[in-house]
Symmetry: C2
Subunit: 153 residues, 2 copies
DNA sequence: CCTGAAAGTTGCTAGCC
DNA sequence: GGCTAGCAACTTTCAGG
């Protein structure tokens, strides 16, 4: 199931995180190896699921997604059926970029990316009509100071 | 500065978000066009900054990053120098995957990805020794229900 | 586990519709 | 603006040290 990751593997992952478009040769050179061994390591890590989707980061504002909310959710319902419906609702909605179940008195946090405040309200109304939640606090982002998907390898 | 984005451009962006590793030919076929026009659109959107970094999503848990915190920060200091030092501290630290300045009574939210709770404490102690903050609430993620960087185009 | 090379694909450019 | 054709560069595989 799990694969041992050594220092070279970590260098490869760091290089791919920084720029997945660069060629095998470039990665190989930057980690001090050559094409084939690097390629074999990448293949193994892909098969093990350590390396997942390859994607591009888009400029959300340029594409009209100008509002970003963090939503703190408390619920009184903790039965299995409620949770199943709630999770499904989150997974289905593309506005929900992140959803975490939390420890402590807040039960869930969401990151929701939408065109504007009105679009958020539409999302919010749709969500609470689908599943009952006890208390919702929306935090509006004024400025994205930092955003990265890179892990600090 | 800004570029007009039409329906074909959006299809291309959606395809690239879903899988940036697929070939130009595949993208062209899925949007109902062919290589060259698609390539020209991609180049324009890259130059306009709409298409940014190309990266891979890694399995954080498999790589030993088993703890994820959302950190809510209130501050009493709002002068320019404090803010400058605070922002710099966030940008420099690789554990901080996201940082937003908020509207409302909470001033900042961070998403911090670390090996374990002890590593979070190390980060926290280092941060508050660098810049004074009034109130900090850490929310520990128990389960990542959903995580995507894709915009709902 | 690495090196080197062969074979098939692809990215990117240029010229034509 | 889109399509066809072409070459250089790349990914991927495989035999051999």
């Amino acid at each position: 199931m799990s694969v041992r990751i050594d220092a070279t593997d970590r260098k490869i992952l760091a290089a791919m995180q920084a720029d997945a478009a660069q060629s095998l040769d470039e990665i190989a050179k930057s980690v001090g190896s050559s094409k084939t061994p690097v390629w074999n390591r990448i293949r193994k890590m892909r098969e093990a699921g350590i390396i997942g989707q390859q994607t591009v980061l888009l400029d959300a504002e340029a594409l009209g997604f100008e509002a970003c909310f963090f939503v703190l959710i408390r619920t009184s319902e903790h039965d299995a059926d409620w949770q199943r419906r709630f999770l499904k609702a989150l997974k289905v909605r593309p506005e929900v970029q992140e959803a975490h179940r939390l420890a402590g008195d807040i039960d869930y946090i969401l990151k929701v990316r939408v065109q504007n405040a009105r679009a958020y309200d539409t999302f919010y109304q749709a969500l609470i009509s689908e599943v009952k939640v006890h208390n919702v606090t929306a935090l509006l982002s004024m400025e994205e100071i930092k955003s990265t998907v890179a892990l600090p390898l």
